[in-house]
């Protein structure tokens, strides 16, 4: 079985994987980071979104071996350990942007990528369009959009810790 080495949430990790092992399986099963979820088998739902070298990617459609030497950030890597939450995380809580919570890690990771590409002043139309790769079955999206707009603004107010580089 080939070995793979990468950095996940700032820590160097190594594991034995099959060629067909998906990144999401490596994260969940090898590293026990279960915050990244599997919701579909067609790459549509977005519950698996992580950041690879600073860019949002669907970990269900990425092979673990493709991430050899890469820097991966998952939902667990956003807040400082024992520290404050990331403003985008706080925004989801403040704006009731979640119900069952299953799509939420993917939504938050995707939201950070929207901010990276479109800035901190996001209008509703932009957010809705850019969330095309994330599905929620509980909320009807309304409060997710509010949360992302609020989180993006809060990130601009300084002290914002962007997804780890």
């Amino acid at each position: 079985m080939p070995a793979v080495s990468m950095t996940v949430n700032g820590k160097a990790v190594t594991g034995d994987v099959e060629a067909r092992t998906l990144l999401v399986q490596f994260l969940r099963e090898n590293l026990r980071l279960t915050g990244t979820h599997v919701g579909c088998d067609t790459s549509q739902c977005g519950a698996c979104v992580v950041h690879i070298d600073g860019i949002a990617a669907k970990s269900c459609t990425t092979l673990a071996l493709q991430c050899e030497g890469a820097k991966v950030t998952t939902i667990e890597g956003l807040a400082e350990p024992n520290g404050p939450l990331h403003p985008m995380q706080e925004a989801f809580r403040e704006n009731h942007g979640l119900q069952c919570g299953f799509c939420t890690p993917g939504m938050i990771m995707a939201a950070l990528d929207i901010v990276r590409r479109r800035g901190n002043d996001l209008d509703e139309h932009t957010i809705r369009e850019q969330l095309d790769g994330n599905i929620c079955r509980c909320t009807g999206y309304h409060n997710i959009v509010k949360a992302i707009a609020a989180g993006a603004k809060a990130m601009a107010k300084g002290g914002a810790r962007q997804a780890a580089e």
Binding site: H37, G39, E94, L98, C100, G101, P105
Partner: protein, 407 residues
Amino acid sequence: MSATGIGAAVRRKEDLRFITGKGKYTDDVVRPGETRAVFVRSPHAHAKINSIDVSAARKMPGVVDVLTGKDLATDKIGNLICGWMIHSKDGTPMKMAPHPALAADKVCHVGDAVAVVIAETQAQARDAAEKVKVDYQVMPAVVDPGKAKSGPQVHDVAPKNTIYEWSLGDAKAVDAAFVLAKHVTKLDIVNNRLVPNAIEPRVALAEYDAGTDQLTLWNTTQNPHVSRLVIAAFVGMAPEHKLRVIAPDVGGGFGSKIFIYPEEVVCLWAARKVGRPVKWTADRSESFVTDAHGRDHVTHAELALDASGKMLAMRVKTIANLGAYMSTFSSSVPTYLYATLLSGQYDIPQIYCEVDAVYTNTVPVDAYRGAGRPEATFVVERLVEVAARQMDIDPADLRKRNFIKRQ
């Protein structure tokens, strides 16, 4: 307005773990020595099972065991049930066909499980499942509820695929009211089948403690107490005090995670058989053919009104497609949860509703997000909209004229 009194905004307590990725959904639970289960499912809507050859699958790397419907029957595991009795107009009870957790004689819908592979890893279980050889004899199938009564018979206990022919209301009084009507609106509508698709797929993780003869099930269930009752008392897996059902964080259900499914029954039975925890996690394609679907009604509805648009009576005839097997609460959804709601918020003196429930070779149908009430709302509000246009009355006015008035 105080911080904690009436009117104060209260933050949810559970959000912290969800926004930090520290939720504990069933697939996140890992038990020591855990094995993984993958089901072998029918690609046919209706077929006899001539034979199942598991010999090649058993030899695959990492395989702990491969079990079939025959093994389940030998171990005398009981069938799944529909728990809500409905009687037909003639007084006969609903025709509930046997529903074993693994099909042994024939399969009745695409996705019907016939075997389960237990292996060390998910990948090994999937590889081995592909090596299970099932000899099917494909039979004609019926999927359209409108054609069910004249289609191939799905179950011996239900001639014309009819589960029950139920009614509510006074047919004679309704007929008399229709005679007096100045206007009758007639409508044929379909409330199409849908797939619930909670973003978290279903998961069952079962563990057996031989030292205490205790079974534990972690399950994506909306109602662990109901699950425990049904699996203990009706499926007969264990006495209730020897079965613990745990619902950890659940990623949406909308009804689809209410029911007791074959997968949790099989995982419990397999865990006790192989002596190791057994975990099954659905993939999305599997969810489409195993999670109970919603709706699937074909309805003819009529509304009788007087010259001023006052509703006099309604009569409704619905064919409800319950699918290949009766799911846990399926019988109640198109009857007591549907017909009793046909009045909407209108003062309609007489309503008569007939519901025929049928079997077809489709995924079982049960309660979904509203469970019968959205179906009823759709019928009455469509009747109102069409009646308004036919009578050239503003739809809002027509509604106001018929609202239930304060006494």
